[in-house]
Symmetry: C2
Subunit: 147 residues, 2 copies
DNA sequence: AAGGTGTTGTTACTTTATAACACCCGGGTC
DNA sequence: GACCCGGGTGTTATAAAGTAACAACACCTT
């Protein structure tokens, strides 16, 4: 999905939910999507720089909080960075394949994995709310390049 | 496993591997184990305080790096904290059930989950090195208490 | 107009983590 | 012993990531 389509999709979703995708929030979303890989909050701030002036951290963190709540982006815990959601608007539990070499991250949804987790969780009485599943390693390209 | 046994186990392992579990590293390991829940680097530093003097951050981070390398502790990414490994010395891929209410964390090893991940990974050509699997939610006790 | 709610701007600060350099100690080598 | 070398430690300073608190504003409702 290209940037334009993703943004339009986001706008539709927010309209449906009566959530306000303000210009500022939209801009942050656009930057995250265009980065096409995990991008940190301070990197976003740099890209939002206007001449001498750079917005203060809360500006971007508030936008990111909104986008996270709306499920338009994900946070990659092991990288302290954010990435556009590949399935915005759908209920999904995703896993992230994080390449430690090139930095690329792929969002995958393995149904079986969700089921297995549910089973484990039911057995132990744990009630999950937010799963964090990240696999650090080498993507196919970087793996090939190693030979 | 109690603290004393865990420390003895750690010493045996390091001896086998010719890794140096120095007094300082041992002390940090002891503090992590005794905490019995995730503990942050700066919290450890406070506990290492000797009168007025508190060690500088690199002191504890270096010890933590060693303990991580030796597989004696785990890092909980979503908490920026560290916890003793419940299966030190064994090859294992573990998942962490993180209670967002009481802060307790349980380390579980679900074999099926490891298999499912391997399958997914093989399909996509991704070569995993470090899995980060954390389930945030409510532990059994806190869940019951909610009613 | 008055009040309420939500968004933004701004300052200051906290928490988490690392770079860089000096020092020391132990083991081998000459 | 003198020398070197490597790993571990102490120390200072700094980077990177995230938040509290308050003021200003915009928009909507009454
Ligand atoms: Zn997603
Ligand atoms: Zn790669
Ligand atoms: Zn473990
Ligand atoms: Zn709990």
């Amino acid at each position: 999905m290209n940037t334009r389509a993703a943004l339009q999709h986001a706008e539709r979703l927010c309209k449906q939910r009566q959530a306000r995708l303000t210009p500022q929030r939209r801009r942050v979303l656009q930057l995250v999507i265009e980065a096409d890989k995990p991008i940190g909050a301070y990197e976003l701030l740099e890209q939002m720089r206007d001449g001498e002036r750079r917005p203060a951290p809360p500006t971007v963190y508030r936008a990111l909080d909104f986008l996270l709540e709306q499920g338009l982006i994900h946070r990659i815990e092991s990288l302290h960075a954010f990435i556009g959601c590949a399935h915005a608007g759908t209920r999904h539990t995703s896993q992230f394949l994080v390449c430690t070499d090139c930095g690329q991250v792929e969002e995958v949804c393995t149904a079986d994995l969700g089921k297995t987790l549910q089973q484990e969780v039911q057995r132990s009485g744990f009630l999950p709310s937010r799963p964090v599943i990240e696999l650090l390693g080498l993507c196919q390209d970087c793996n090939k390049r190693t030979y």
